[in-house]
């Protein structure tokens, strides 16, 4: 089964600094990868997916098959980016596997 790992439980950066949230997957083939975000007291929601190759709220993520990674990046962090971030990938079509999550704290 595909597994997704997020090695950092907590990431603290200052406002305006670059941020990178790491995600690694274990899968041979063409994975389907997502980043979800959960702001304080809000529901979990999609941030971006690799298949659409889009930038949402200044965040991007590139699938690196050589390193089996899908790291989430933003060049200049904002305080409103403080949230819990989850990397996720479906296996067996419907069984999504979520990483353990990284809490991003952007300090003023």
């Amino acid at each position: 089964a595909q597994r997704v790992t997020q090695p950092e439980k907590l990431l603290s950066v200052f406002k305006g600094a670059p941020v990178e949230l790491k995600c690694n997957y274990s899968y041979s083939g063409s994975p389907e990868l997502f980043w979800y975000v959960q702001y304080s007291r809000q529901r979990l929601q999609l941030l971006l997916r690799h298949i659409s190759r889009e930038s949402i709220k200044g965040f991007t993520a590139d699938l690196n098959k050589g390193e089996t990674s899908f790291h989430l990046k933003k060049p200049f962090a904002q305080e409103e980016d403080s949230a819990m971030y989850y990397c996720a990938s479906p296996y067996n079509f419907n069984k999504f596997y979520f990483g353990s999550g990284t809490k991003l704290n952007v300090k003023p």
């Binding site: 997020q6 439980k9 389907e32 997502f34 529901r43 979990l44 929601q45 999609l46 997916r49 298949i51 989850y86 996720a88 079509f93 419907n94 069984k95 999504f96 596997y97 979520f98 990483g99 353990s100 999550g101």
Partner: protein, 112 residues
């Protein structure tokens, strides 16, 4: 916009009680899911359903059962609640392959 609702935001139950958590989605999605969310463990899949009356076990089904009698509604049942089932429970629904999951607001369950 897809809307996924859960019947309760907070629940307090006693050990041994039978607990029902209800989830409703309004987008005619075939696929629905129940997760529990615990700090440091992320989201873990309990059960999912890909059609009415169809269900499959996720990664942690022990102590839980589910019911899907109508397409829009997916219920999670704790037959005999235990303290280790204290958690945040998230429901989600998903459309066709490649689409994201849409999550409900969650039910925080405390079992005393």
């Amino acid at each position: 916009d897809v809307k996924v609702t859960q019947s309760s935001r907070y629940l307090v139950k006693r050990t041994g009680e039978k607990v029902f958590l209800e989830c409703v989605q309004d987008m005619d999605h075939e696929n629905m899911f129940w997760y529990r969310q615990d700090p440091g463990l992320g989201l873990r899949l309990i059960y999912f359903s890909y059609d009415v009356k169809m269900k499959e076990k996720g990664d942690i089904p022990e102590g839980y059962s589910v019911s899907r009698e109508k397409k829009e509604r997916f219920s999670l049942i704790l037959e005999s609640a235990s303290t280790n089932q204290t958690s945040m429970y998230l429901c989600a629904s998903r459309g066709p392959r490649g689409e994201t999951q849409y999550f409900g607001p969650g039910t925080r369950l405390l079992v005393l």
